[in-house]
Subunit: 330 residues, 4 copies
């Protein structure tokens, strides 16, 4: 069976998913929609699909699933519409910046028996998957301490930041999900600190650019997250899980892994420049998992509930910074 | 412009090239031929191309280029036929196991104004390309000593070995080409030692499984090659170039790069299992370079002359083992 | 000039310092005292020094300096006595578990014009010193985020834990000092979480074995500390400092750095087994710095004030765990 | 028991051994002799020993063992004299540059029941010892291919080179010994290439600065050696042993192992600057092994026979370069 896709949104992340869908032998990209016709046409030209309106994709008989890559504030509405239209839905994170709106949206998905997958791509990175597999196989015993380092090469434009919901909901949310993926137990409390060290404009926009977070589960397992909007050496993405019998870690990836030695020392090139190149395989695996779940009628993961849980942690982090205390989460 | 391909040979390496051609936006795989219809049909089914005879591909008006992946003893004949038919030719190494036959074949290519690229895939590996780039940029000064380690995870079947021309012409030939690629000067002499340490059956078939080679250029630059048909830890592929101002090296690649630590120590997973997975990017880049050369009418590299030069080094290595002395090469 | 030493306390850490003093060309170990004569005699036999009482060392005309390695609850008294006796004092951390007692002791040191160095050995590790040097040279720009991972191979006996002042004052105190050493700005607040994951007996003794800490400076710089009383792979001691222009890190050290590769992967041996072997060079450098400061009449660092500052951070961490909030520090 | 030492020769390597002897709890350095009184006095001052003549050390009743660090052309005579005087002898390599002279000297040692250890320090490096231990424990199965990379940071003065016996007898000799140490089987043939790539003055002095060697045992095991008199990145000392069940390797060592990351990439500092710092532990272990053998009356290793075997390989390498062929060794 081939799953027939419509792509909603032809921007930066839309292109990533267009490539992943087109490269999958079990999928075909049928149509793309975007408010900017030129963006949609660029993808249509490259992958040989049609440009349609969102309404046309909604009504189409030749489309089984959609990938939602439109601006965040449209996600929840689109999920509801396409769930009602009976399409399987892959939606980029977050579903919405408001927990109440997410809950309402999930209710519609449930009532319409919808299939919804949320785009936490890192769960599908082969290295992070191997970390999780090592845990599942008992190679490190009981998980005790998780360390997540996540630094962007540079800050996004301040305009983007203003609409982003803030660093915790925009950037740390991936690390919240990764912590949940690795801790093996639900998180009970959040403590966060935050500062503006990279760019004062980010502070003027009401956001932070450098944050540290401690998450704790009921039994006392801890996860530490370190985020910065700046890393001169590339896109820094590391995880380490320490357990009762050992430790497992995934180091950074490089596009080219040579080493040059001279009187200055031994130098390896910088890391990948950003997520589009770092997570190429993850995006391909993610869409493959979505397709496999559709074909087998299997439970979809990560689900809307996973999206909601990560958002709740982000909300708690914001509150923790404001109130300078540990915030319990349900 | 899209280059239209015919694939000759649907075996293990044929599949690798079918994938590389199909994944290239500037190419289309039109037809595949193989003596075993089932093999051809498998590729046709997977990539949506036709099964044709070699003769039909030769005569086809809708095919611009062919990839020759048939058994070695057919390469030279096919190159001549398709060069006469006006198709651009990508041929897996070697052109032939006999230097005289290679020369005769190259004469035909020249007379028919043919375009011939020989499949030394490692030149297109992104890591080895970066090594060469570092040299070209002068980062290590003048090249002095090249070290190439190349070990297969396991030996091929003895039947294959009997037809292979021996380890120097079958396996080391890639390292001879890599040495030429990196030394920056033609090789003037070859010294080789060889032994049977892995499997006595290989010795009974008249071949070796463990060899060491020293190549020297006229000015005294040296390359050392270490080969084994066995490596329990995966497909071992390393190069190091030492120069007057520094050193550059490319380490092995892994499909998954996690590390597990416990009382036994720190363990990273084995290397790639073999060339199909290790050199995925190299095969894609190689076909892309072939296509680019066709489209731009540029000189093709590595050429038939490169194939011939590597074969001459292999012949010299065989002679060196037999005569226990350094063999000069033209 | 040769500095003549008396050693107070001949236990585990006393032996470490006896070796460091004896190996220093500018020092001589004259006498050792311990409540257990056998322990003192062992050191006297090995290094060719005398066994004396503490009182005799206090009164001795042939001793310029003492190294205090007795139990923690004697440190402050001994510092006061030997400061009054005009000896230069190197004291193992902590001066006392009570901030008030430390302040009183430091007052005596000040009044007697004493020379006091506190044993934060990690500041003298060559790798960590190189990290600090890279920061001082401006190689990473302004410090933004410090990450300290510090895990003991195994927990000490519960009896020790009961007298230790708890994990923050006994173990994390080294990391608090290292954070101060690296942040380049005084710490303004402490947040800590703590749990018992390793051994329930530790919990019964009123202590924790797994803790995470976030420190923040006034300008917003952050340090994250991850501690565990268990690490199956050896004594885990890493630091990483992220700045506006780059990052500098010091990896773990191994006594033997070979690698064995086979079908299971690539395995390096475990880390050093504990501080005595991991910090051999640090202990030697530390005593050398103490001697150099005595000889040059230079300011001693780390000083009693550094010991006090680290203890105040430990106290704040305890309070943070109890009150589940960020604790400001003066 | 304490072994009482005399040191013959107070130059660069003499200082290294003075430190090793003085740092050993079972040894005492009693006297030092050197043709340059100032050199001897420097060591005497630093380690608190006497300056004596060679004759006085020979006749001394308070000296059990000597360390010979004088110029190479005096080694054989001194070994004979001190063997007759009943002293245990540690002699820096080589015993002599002439195989016949070495044999004659060893005969005297044998006749006088002498104890002679030859200074192949690398056998005592903890990392290389661990490589050998891994082999002995069967972790890599049967040894098949050994790779030794050995590059000096810079060439010695041409005056030294003229007296050195040439690169094979001066520098490669250590690698010949290491190959013997690791191959587990005697070497049957030598092939060597050599060139002048670093400094034409070395060529004018009749020597080479860049050499590659292949050694082969009777059963076909191979060792490859790569030498250069130049390495801009420090003292390059690596070994790798490939066997039927796996591989074991020892990487280079660094005095400081930090890493700085920025837009240029990830940089680690250069290697140790030369053997005095790289092999500090090896020199200490070597003297400790010599002392232990004396105390236990055990067989001394590496012995004069090991020195002779390495020299014979060096002679064969010289001949191989001259005759461009593989040279059999007895």
């Amino acid at each position: 069976m081939t799953v027939r896709f419509g792509l909603l949104g032809a921007g930066r992340i839309g292109k990533v998913h267009a490539k992943a869908v087109s490269g999958n032998a079990d999928a075909v990209l049928v149509a793309v929609a975007d408010a900017f016709p030129a963006a949609a046409e660029a993808i249509a030209g490259q992958y040989g699909c049609e440009v349609r309106t969102i309404e046309a994709i909604e009504a189409a008989g030749d489309i089984d699933a959609v990938v939602i890559c439109t601006p965040t504030d449209t996600h929840a509405d689109l999920i509801e519409r396409f769930s009602r239209a009976g399409k399987a839905i892959f939606c980029e994170k977050p579903i919405d910046l408001d927990v109440g709106r997410v809950r309402a949206c999930m209710k519609v998905v449930e009532e319409t028996n919808g299939k919804l997958m949320v785009g936490f791509n890192r769960r599908f990175d082969p290295h992070f998957m191997a970390v999780r597999k090592a845990i599942d196989e008992g190679r490190i015993g009981e998980v005790e301490m998780v360390t997540i380092t996540s630094r962007d090469p540079g800050a996004p434009p301040v305009d983007y930041i203003k609409r982003s919901g803030g660093i915790f909901r925009d950037m740390t949310i991936h690390d919240f999900d990764m912590a949940r993926f690795l801790l093996g137990e639900e998180i009970a409390s959040v403590f966060a600190t935050a500062a503006v060290l990279v760019d004062p404009e980010i502070g003027k926009a009401g956001d932070y650019d450098s944050v540290s977070v401690i998450l704790q589960t009921k039994s006392g397992r801890q996860a530490v997250i370190s985020n910065s909007r700046r890393a001169t050496y590339g896109y820094d993405q590391r995880i380490e899980v320490h357990g009762s019998k050992g430790m497992v870690s995934a180091e950074n990836q490089r596009p080219v892994s040579i080493e040059v030695a001279n009187g200055e020392g031994y130098t390896r090139p910088p890391l990948h420049d950003f997520f589009m190149t770092r997570y190429t395989e993850a995006y391909a695996n993610e869409i493959a998992a979505f397709i496999a779940a559709i074909e087998k009628g299997a439970t979809i993961s990560p689900s809307g509930a996973d999206g909601l849980a990560a958002l709740a942690l982000a909300d708690a982090a914001v509150k923790s910074v404001e109130e300078k205390r540990q915030i319990p989460v349900a």
